[in-house]
């Protein structure tokens, strides 16, 4: 037992030495996560703000200018151009210079006084998500204006007050940044483990290890523990940046995050081992890894909500460790979720980890002979 632990220790030390001797590798595991976090934190935003808007005001009245002002006041729309002719609208939408056009017909002020005014809103539906959200904002602005006029200063009979819990500003950054942890841990654990194993197969050292007293299970542990350690460092790095730089709230228990991360890391490491058993070269390992990685991300709810997937795919996501992990991470950061709240997700992660590890160990040990 003691000699087995010593052998595993030598493997771990050797592996870490190799990772950090290669400056590219060191950057991949330590700098890349922070860069990716910054990209996701700044660039990837599903918030719809400052939608480029074209205005064709054929009325040029005080009322029409009030309407345009109501659109720009909330920060959701930004008037970037004024049109004089109908044809300019199509051109601006075609070229993508604007995503929405607001057309105020002649006689708007007169019609408004008579209670039968109309305005036209044209959207670029190419990005359906953005168009839907912008449409919602625009409808609300127009309706509020109409209501205001109808009531003439009296209080409405029925008033709706909306409040978003956990993320009151509905900032997509708060939702995305914690989820990046799941993405990066998958990448580090799965891809790097697969590459580390296949590299040894390529240069022939795997055979050298196989004739040494190192047992298959010791080899597996020696190959995975280093990347699990790196994953924990990355977890601290990403969480630290998310909190200190982006001011993402952290309301839950750090220990719950740590525990869930360990379970998730076990799944990713097992995936890496499985990829390594079907890959002869590092290139193959790289490609197979991405083949596994893409569906895992797409079916995780990272970008597209699981609830809006077809039923069959919703069932499939239950086998996806990333799906469960993201639910836990987002909950712990934003909602202060407790272990009891996410017991089903924790159980699912544990089950998936056990199945994947058992498969990986079996395939790995058999592949050796």
């Amino acid at each position: 037992m003691r000699s087995a632990l010593l052998r595993i220790g030598w493997m771990v030390r050797k592996e870490l030495r190799q990772v950090f001797r290669d400056p590219r590798m060191a950057r991949v595991v330590l700098v890349a996560p922070v860069i990716q976090l910054l990209v996701f934190g700044y660039a990837v935003s599903t918030d719809v703000r400052d939608t480029a808007t074209l205005v064709l005001d054929r009325d040029q009245s005080r009322e029409s200018r009030e309407l345009v002002a109501a659109f720009t006041a909330g920060g959701y729309f930004e008037v970037v151009a004024d049109a004089r002719r109908e044809a300019e609208i199509a051109e601006a939408l075609d070229h993508g210079r604007v995503a929405m056009a607001l057309v105020v017909p002649a006689g708007f002020a007169r019609d408004l006084a008579a209670g039968r005014a109309r305005v036209q809103l044209l959207f670029d539906g190419t990005n359906s998500n953005q168009a839907t959200v912008a449409k919602g904002y625009a409808e609300r602005i127009v309706q509020e204006l109409a209501l205001e006029r109808a009531l003439g200063g009296r209080a409405p009979a029925l008033d709706v007050r909306l409040r978003a819990w956990y993320n009151p500003d509905l900032a997509s950054r708060n939702y995305n940044v914690p989820a990046v942890i799941g993405l990066l841990l998958s990448l580090v654990c799965q891809l790097l483990t697969a590459l580390a194993v296949v590299r040894e197969r390529e240069i022939g050292t795997l055979e050298q290890l196989a004739v040494s007293p190192l047992r298959p299970i010791e080899l597996i542990l020696g190959k995975t523990i280093p990347f699990a350690l790196i994953a924990l460092v990355d977890l601290a790095l990403i969480t630290g940046t998310a909190l200190a730089w982006f001011g993402v709230p952290f309301r839950g228990n750090p220990l719950l995050l740590l525990g869930a991360t360990m379970l998730f890391v076990a799944c990713a490491l097992a995936n890496g081992l499985l990829v390594s058993t079907v890959s002869k070269t590092q290139q193959e390992a790289f490609l197979s890894s991405f083949l596994v990685f893409m569906p895992l991300v797409l079916l995780s709810g990272f970008m597209f909500p699981v609830a809006s997937m077809p039923k069959l795919f919703q069932w499939l996501t239950l086998a996806n460790p990333l799906r469960h992990f993201l639910e836990i991470v987002r909950g712990v950061f934003l909602k202060g979720t407790t272990a009891a709240d996410v017991a089903p997700q924790l159980a699912a992660l544990t089950l998936i980890a056990i199945v994947l590890l058992a498969l990986a160990v079996r395939r790995f040990a058999r592949g050796e002979r």
């Binding site: 000699s3 010593l6 052998r7 220790g9 030598w10 493997m11 030390r13 050797k14 030495r17 190799q18 001797r21 290669d22 240069i203 022939g204 050292t205 055979e207 050298q208 290890l209 196989a210 004739v211 040494s212 007293p213 190192l214 047992r215 050796e368 002979r369």
Partner: protein, 315 residues
């Protein structure tokens, strides 16, 4: 040879890959302290046999013992008793010389004072004392191979398997490598080595020749040479290609082949060939600068044995 005392023993060892029989009922014994040469053309089954003996492959049938332990059943005990160096250079290029040595010491449980002593021994043996902190990838091939040998024997195994250890190195490095092998054998280590360099075969105490998965000869180098049945003649000629065409297929000739600038002609009967072949050459207009009988080299013997056994698998 006495059975239980053998360092390596194979009994009817076979390995099939699907329909292909890579090793076909191979049996032999290697005595402790021998330098046992394992020869044969590419694809003859040498590497597959070694892999069955050191536990990398399970035999399809047959049995074997290494250092007294049964292959397949006592893998862990065998692993501790053997050193293995494959034709692929198998050290970590991104680790330094000393880091490689220490890593393998660690795997084999060589610790404490013994580790330091063995490390110094390997560095001295491989001539790397002044390069101990260099990355292994930067070393010359000869150095790498000596270092790989050193790492394979850090734990002082009684048996050492070498699978084409010198492929690709220059003759000087190869010579130095064999000096090391002799040193180890002199210290009592049994060395089991595959090669296809004929001059290396001469260094072995005994030779096994494999072809198409079968063991087709097993003897000392001298014994194998003595067993060659057909006389061998050497023909010196300024036109070896013309001579080859003239003699190939002649009734007195078993086999004819180019050997440097000469022709080696295996014949059925010495006297008859010596009298008839000059006539055939003259008839073809090829000048002969001398035709005489020579002692067959190991290469001649092996080519004859392989052809008699049906030719190499690649032909």
């Amino acid at each position: 040879m006495t059975g239980p005392a053998a360092a390596v023993e194979a009994k009817e060892l076979s390995r099939r890959f699907g329909d292909f029989v890579a090793v076909d009922r191979v049996s032999f014994e290697v005595a402790p302290g021998e330098v046992f040469g394992f020869l044969g053309p590419n694809g003859a089954g040498k590497t597959t046999t070694i892999k069955m003996l050191n536990g990398l492959l399970a035999p399809s049938s047959g049995s074997g013992r290494v250092a007294g332990f049964e292959i397949g059943r006592e893998r862990e005990a065998i692993k501790r008793s053997i050193g293995y160096m494959s034709q692929l250079f198998s050290l970590y290029g991104d680790l330094t010389v000393v880091e490689n040595i220490d890593f393998f010491s660690g795997l084999y449980g060589v610790g404490g004072e013994r580790r330091a002593a063995r490390r110094d021994w390997v560095l001295a043996m491989a001539g790397l004392v002044d390069h101990r902190d260099r990355l292994t990838a930067e070393l010359s091939l000869g150095w790498k191979q000596r270092l790989a040998l050193g790492c394979a024997v850090l734990h002082e195994p009684p048996i050492l398997f070498l699978d084409e250890p010198t492929s690709g190195v220059d003759p000087i490095s190869r010579r130095r490598f064999w000096d090391l092998i002799y040193e180890l054998a002199g210290g009592g280590t049994t060395v089991f080595v595959t090669t296809h360099y004929m001059e290396e075969a001469e260094y072995c105490t005994r030779l096994a020749l494999m072809n198409r998965g079968r063991l087709i000869a097993l003897d000392t180098p001298a014994g194998l040479r003595a067993g060659a049945r057909e006389p061998l003649l050497r023909l010196a000629t300024p036109d070896p290609i013309g001579a080859l065409a003239a003699l190939d297929g002649a009734p007195e000739v078993v086999r004819v082949g180019l050997f440097g600038r000469d022709l080696h002609v295996t014949v059925r009967d010495r006297e008859r060939a010596l009298s008839r072949l000059p006539e055939r050459l003259a008839a073809a207009g090829v000048r002969s600068d001398g035709l005489d009988e020579i002692r067959p080299s190991l290469e001649d013997v092996f080519i004859a044995l392989v052809l008699a056994a049906g030719g190499a698998a690649e032909d």
